[in-house]
Symmetry: D2
Subunit: 379 residues, 4 copies
Amino acid sequence: MGMVGGGHGAFIGAVHRIAANIDGQVELVCGAFSSDSDRSKASGKDLFLPEDRCYSDYATMMTAEKSLPEGERMDFVAIVTPNHVHFPVAKAALEAGFHVLSDKPATLNLAEAQELAALVEKTGLKYGLTHNYTGYPMVKQARALVRNGELGTIRKVVVEYPQGWLATPVEKENNKQASWRTDPEKSGAAGCIGDIGTHAENLAEYISGLQIEELAADLTRFVDGRMLDDDGSVLLRFAGGAKGILYASQVSVGEENSLTIRVYGEKGGLEWHQMEPNTLLVHRLGEPTQIQRTGNDYLDSSSTDHARIPPGHPEGYLEAFANLYRNFAADIASDLLGTEAPPYASDYPTVSDGVRGMAFIQAVVESSSNNAAWTKLPL
Amino acid sequence: MGMVGGGHGAFIGAVHRIAANIDGQVELVCGAFSSDSDRSKASGKDLFLPEDRCYSDYATMMTAEKSLPEGERMDFVAIVTPNHVHFPVAKAALEAGFHVLSDKPATLNLAEAQELAALVEKTGLKYGLTHNYTGYPMVKQARALVRNGELGTIRKVVVEYPQGWLATPVEKENNKQASWRTDPEKSGAAGCIGDIGTHAENLAEYISGLQIEELAADLTRFVDGRMLDDDGSVLLRFAGGAKGILYASQVSVGEENSLTIRVYGEKGGLEWHQMEPNTLLVHRLGEPTQIQRTGNDYLDSSSTDHARIPPGHPEGYLEAFANLYRNFAADIASDLLGTEAPPYASDYPTVSDGVRGMAFIQAVVESSSNNAAWTKLPL
Amino acid sequence: MGMVGGGHGAFIGAVHRIAANIDGQVELVCGAFSSDSDRSKASGKDLFLPEDRCYSDYATMMTAEKSLPEGERMDFVAIVTPNHVHFPVAKAALEAGFHVLSDKPATLNLAEAQELAALVEKTGLKYGLTHNYTGYPMVKQARALVRNGELGTIRKVVVEYPQGWLATPVEKENNKQASWRTDPEKSGAAGCIGDIGTHAENLAEYISGLQIEELAADLTRFVDGRMLDDDGSVLLRFAGGAKGILYASQVSVGEENSLTIRVYGEKGGLEWHQMEPNTLLVHRLGEPTQIQRTGNDYLDSSSTDHARIPPGHPEGYLEAFANLYRNFAADIASDLLGTEAPPYASDYPTVSDGVRGMAFIQAVVESSSNNAAWTKLPL
Amino acid sequence: MGMVGGGHGAFIGAVHRIAANIDGQVELVCGAFSSDSDRSKASGKDLFLPEDRCYSDYATMMTAEKSLPEGERMDFVAIVTPNHVHFPVAKAALEAGFHVLSDKPATLNLAEAQELAALVEKTGLKYGLTHNYTGYPMVKQARALVRNGELGTIRKVVVEYPQGWLATPVEKENNKQASWRTDPEKSGAAGCIGDIGTHAENLAEYISGLQIEELAADLTRFVDGRMLDDDGSVLLRFAGGAKGILYASQVSVGEENSLTIRVYGEKGGLEWHQMEPNTLLVHRLGEPTQIQRTGNDYLDSSSTDHARIPPGHPEGYLEAFANLYRNFAADIASDLLGTEAPPYASDYPTVSDGVRGMAFIQAVVESSSNNAAWTKLPL
């Protein structure tokens, strides 16, 4: 693969590289790691890349790689830049004939996302979006339980994603991660709700198999001088009648990365916490709650397909992220080699998740500016 | 004390009696345990009461007790009937000159609650309301932390109260607790939100020291044929700018009685779970989270005042409930005896909590019927 | 009941009184609360007792009560003194014809315990011993699971009881609880292992249904100048081949009262923590672990018989203690009244638990003084 | 690196490869993956290795690699075979001039381990041993807390490692992992205590900074027909006077991989669970217990040096394992390149851990065969 973004000091670029490395199925062969040509080369050198494949910008990279012989050139592009660059790079890659695996959100706004979806369809290329939390084995299990009807008709989904790292104005204290995330130019129309609220939205829809139809949102900027929301509370109504609550915050002091979901149906319920991801609580009417755990034989194969090591050997964030890479790579490889794809090859978020995410953000921002009026997802 | 309600088969009557017994400061001396005179007497006999103080109805009880000499007659009335009888009994007791300790909610609606408040003020008698969850030692500690400024200005309150016992139509299966709770005549305008949502509301205000100003509520009746809401999601705005989420449900399969609260301020946060009530998580900016535990010397005295046994010896629901009785009894006793009241004597919910609870219910029901429009508490 | 010990400032006396109060089945009618006559009377007055039934010593109490008419005199004696007084009071009570409910350990040494057992047998009176941790509903459930064969043949029992309150020499700082517990004259041959190790031993035997046959113990006095062990590690061998570990400590800084037991059999396992007593983890070969919780219908009736309130309303230490009182009182009452005893009436620790506890202490002390040589329980 | 063992179907070989991949600092360049030459080549092919560097046996590999030019040949050998092959391969590698990173235990017995240690010293080559549990960031923090004196003088160490996967005779059911582990020829003199007990021993010494001096062990074979212990309980005495308990079991039904350690000192204590490895509980006299969590700024730099992603993004078993590879590789690289080694470069288990592990096994087996007599580590 080739990488755009992710030079020295970046957080998510390193995560993507580890995720790509873990299973030894993906090799980084080139990159445009920084818009500063020297920094790009320096970053590439640390990654043991030859200098001539460390490009000064993504446009050059697309052209140069395209001119390489098949088998030598990159097979896909991983996009790990700040949000506002996701779309232009994805577009350039697709137009140059490369598959794309992009960090989320897919684009800066819904219009771009729809344009991107059209382009993906037109080119017939693969597009993956790293809503990485869906990569956890017990999230797969949760989804399987719902899909297999073990909870009955779903009634309620409560998903929350509190963090605390933006409780003070760290964006003014030279915190690079904080600065671009709180800047509307780079982050988009939403702050917290875009950065992490979309993960919650995606996870809720992935596990429940339901789509959010309309929502009522109350966004807040708690930190003085901040330009985007740093906290949001959203009531949800799903197609089919289920109700929900989505709560995201980056000012919840003491919370690290506490993405949590609970789903309740007519016959059962489930509960999963990202910070202890190898445990899934499963409730059934009149029975003791079960502690289902990663890697055990009693799990659905769609779950065990995503675990690498025996039960009790904790797998974490990077392994979940690697599952997206593994699946995306398997999808490409089976196409390339004409082999039968394994069942998990199609199990990664795609451009349609990207479109829904941008529609969610747009609806939340609109609802909040209308004093939490019910607002349909514009789809 | 005398008791109205709580005959054979009742749940909350037995709870009140245990709560009264625990500290050996309150003696049950009479009761109108059932509107059926024979059942009332039978219940009283099991409680070792003389037959002549087991009354056939509460009106008779007020008259008869009033005619007894001071020192012999009951000092206060405990009301443990279904909701619709709370107000008439309280009114009769106050008019007969007896203090009142009533189960919640105070009344069937806001108008009654305001009438009750006026009567309490006029008579100068004590009125306690058993929002028992405020009786836990670690709830006291949470309140003290907020009051002492350790969390800074409060920004967000997330309070939730999921139960699962009404996930199926048990009210049609001869479940006495379920039948009256799902009957608007006996329960009032709200089901779940009145039965347990008001506990959540009371707890949030008690700990945060803030008052809910307006709210947007989405109530649902998930079980076919049920007459009242069995699930509700509510966005909150507190006076002063804090935001909140309140969620109550009685159809969350697998949840027992999972009242939970999280409060976040500028400098810290806290988290408490009713089902493991002796633990309070305390967050502070940049520091490891602390596990504060019932009965330890590092707690505020308002917390240790409410613990009976050493740390690690778990105290539960009944002890928390008993704390309300203990405090209420101390309040009455210090008046009676002219002694100085201990600091905890005034620490129990009163009629003003009752008025706020009924205003909350009215606002929630109104908001929900207006498609979750923001609705101010009518106070 | 009448009480010996438990005057002002005592810990366990107050616990016994609350335990007796909770179910309203037992009434305190007299006491010898202190060897100081004035203190005994003052304590009794606070308990609303008439002065003439607050005795200056236990011998006087036995004589005086015996002379009262049946129905008026106490039915049994609760013993809540420091350890060295347990036996003489029990003996006096039994000889005067009163049933006895004694705090543990039963006596100061094994010889006394055996004498006591003989006396109980001879008099035909009831003798209960407050190994209160067996009173928890989920301990009953654990025992039922083993007895019903759900774990298969038991292989291993790991029981531990760490506390931290004696990590420093608090017995020299006017801590009354610490002083007698660290004084061989009052506490017996063992410190920590007698005070809390016996609880662990009793719990292990109660749940597993197995008897410790021999043991190898390593006791330590970590705090300078302390006269008795404050920490002990013991290897266990049960009759029938199961193995075990018992660990008790009062110098484990940060531990409050963390009695915990795990039992593993051929087909399953279980885990219970006293500090979160309403949860029992149940393991079965090849299945997800279950979280069994107090008060649910799926529990054995021997467990639900010991819960008072619905699931999710936590019951604690005092309720567990009260279960012993309730059962003991039911046992006496059914005899007195000639009614059929409820199934739980016989479910409380008796003098044979007391004998085993003293044998355990003697074996531990002997083993430890022989450098942890295997030592059989002298029974 | 080159790898010996770890062909198709092996567990730990795959773990080592992922661990090597994660940080992109180590490249697998050759291997002798199986003693069956075709299987070795097939395994190598799946790993994208050229056929000529997939060797049919380790001796050939050493010779062939040695003959390659520097910079092209492997830098070190990773040994991932069953136990009995560890030593011969390590010896061959060292004698051929290659550094060694070996799976544990280092050898089959103490004599071999001492021979190995002498060889390491003589050759001056690096030898790392993958006691991977010491690689967790919160284990580093635990060690730092002890070393910095925050717990005061250590009094007690309780380390346990229960698993349940050998509760039935799976070694007779074609379970490859089970067969060699229960075979004395391949596993050594101890079963469970060698396989996982040594991890517990190593962890206890690593965190406490203390050395086990003598022990009393009771090993059991619970499963009929099994040739080696599947459960063991051990009393420990550390040099300097601390006491300990070590418990390892592979028949504890329901336990996955529950390595847990608690350490108590005069001033504080700590608790860590491998299955939730990002949390460390820290106790201090008179203060609330702290929840310290991976990646936070308040941790010792020796801990944060071993975390890759922000707090709340769980790192697991593979990342901990990768930390050993990262440190070992950094140690080699700084030597090779003559650069200054980062502080973590020397932080990995070495041959002296291997010697202590084999001495531990020998002492445990000897003690157990002497009915748990106290036995000194033969060092």
